[in-house]
Symmetry: C2
Subunit: 243 residues, 2 copies
């Protein structure tokens, strides 16, 4: 059987089975809000098909995306850190399925499964890198480059060159006005890198997009790709200098 969430896929069979027994498959639909700042986290989610973005909301301003979660990750990190308070809003961007589980049983399994802890810790680190890079990217790079980056990140997560999304929403993700997205998207379209038709985006030229996107894309991707997922022997990791 093929496990559609890579975080789960990296677990040894025993630990995975244990989780699976308590996991239920749910469909997350576009627009659904899984977490709201201030409200306690009820479930953890392991997306398979679905795509969820994490947004900070600053009073008097538009939202700003600081994380994008697909099949490579999970939602509910704070639980693993000892709190059930989500500092961000989790908004479903791409309809699809996810495996989910109530907080309490997750915690009890989490406490007992070293491989699960290891896997989640690795993912937390990855996410910190992602937030950090996003922060710098939002500060320094032009909308066009950031847009390109976002499209590539999304593609990686939904594993498809096509997905639906309005410019309005994209503006929220990037923290800019819709018009800014229109202009940037127009430029990309003119250069035949994407095609954009009423909320339906297609990536035509991934290579070209990567060239347009800032290096931030590669940086985050590298952390992910380099990370030993699965059964590599991570016990020894911290003594890397030992050879």
């Amino acid at each position: 059987m093929h496990i559609a969430n890579s975080l789960l896929a990296a677990l040894p069979c025993k630990d995975y089975q244990r989780l699976l027994a308590r996991l239920e498959t749910v469909t997350l639909t576009f627009g659904e809000v899984l977490y709201r700042p201030g409200e306690p986290i009820q479930h953890v989610y392991f997306p398979t098909d679905a795509l969820v973005s994490l947004l900070t909301v600053v009073e008097g301003h538009m939202a700003l995306e600081i994380g994008l979660v697909g099949r490579e990750g999970m939602l509910g990190i704070p639980l693993a850190l000892g709190t059930n308070d989500s500092p961000v809003r989790a908004l479903v961007q791409g309809t699809g399925t996810a495996l989910r589980m109530k907080s309490a049983p997750f915690l009890s399994i989490f406490r007992q499964s070293a491989p699960l802890q290891r896997e989640i810790h690795r993912y937390i680190h990855e996410r910190m890198v992602q937030i950090t890079q996003t922060a710098a990217c939002n500060r320094f790079h032009l909308v066009e480059a950031r847009l390109a980056r976002w499209l590539l990140m999304t593609r990686d997560r939904v594993q498809s060159d096509q997905f639906r999304l309005t410019q309005e929403l994209l503006g929220c993700m990037l923290g800019v006005l819709r018009v800014a997205v229109t202009k940037a998207a127009g430029a990309l379209q003119q250069r035949k890198l994407i095609s954009y038709r009423r909320g339906e985006i297609s990536i035509l030229d991934g290579q070209g997009l990567e060239a347009t996107a800032c290096r931030c894309y590669q940086v985050v991707k590298n952390v992910h790709d380099r990370a030993p997922s699965g059964h590599s022997n991570r016990e020894e990791l911290p003594v890397a200098a030992v050879a």
Copy 2:
């Protein structure tokens, strides 16, 4: 005896003693770089007096601060997450002392001390909130507000209304040109909120500064203050919904 690092102070005596046996006191001097991206983490640090800032470096751009660590925190989070790869540069901002320890013994103690794990997990969460808020802040708020925020954060960490720092450095922290800092600092000075004299900053009116700073300051502070440090019974936290 008074423990000068609050993260350590929150530990039960037994666990603290165990750590202390392997900790050494070091003086961190202004300008020293503790971690560099790509280089493996050699030590963890628990600042007491010292102030350290965490910077991302994006190629072709100035640095950008995404974290500020003083007596309330630690350096070396990645170790607790199973990697010795620091994604950021750690630069000593304020000369002072810290307790430190080699990575290997830290890890071995960390694995065995549940209270230490809990405390560090709590801090990781705090730091993620900090990064997130900083990201949004850098995106939306004017330099003047961000500067005010930075000064307040620094004050909280060094526990003094006076510290030394050039505008050049401040520019790096905030991710803006030096001239932008000059203007913003000038404005604050004119309003008698701070006084600035050749690298020596004094906060004259904390209240006023808080009013000028964006709410981001309060948001991060609240997460920290609300967090149960010390001997509150955190075992029960995650099942809040069960009752």
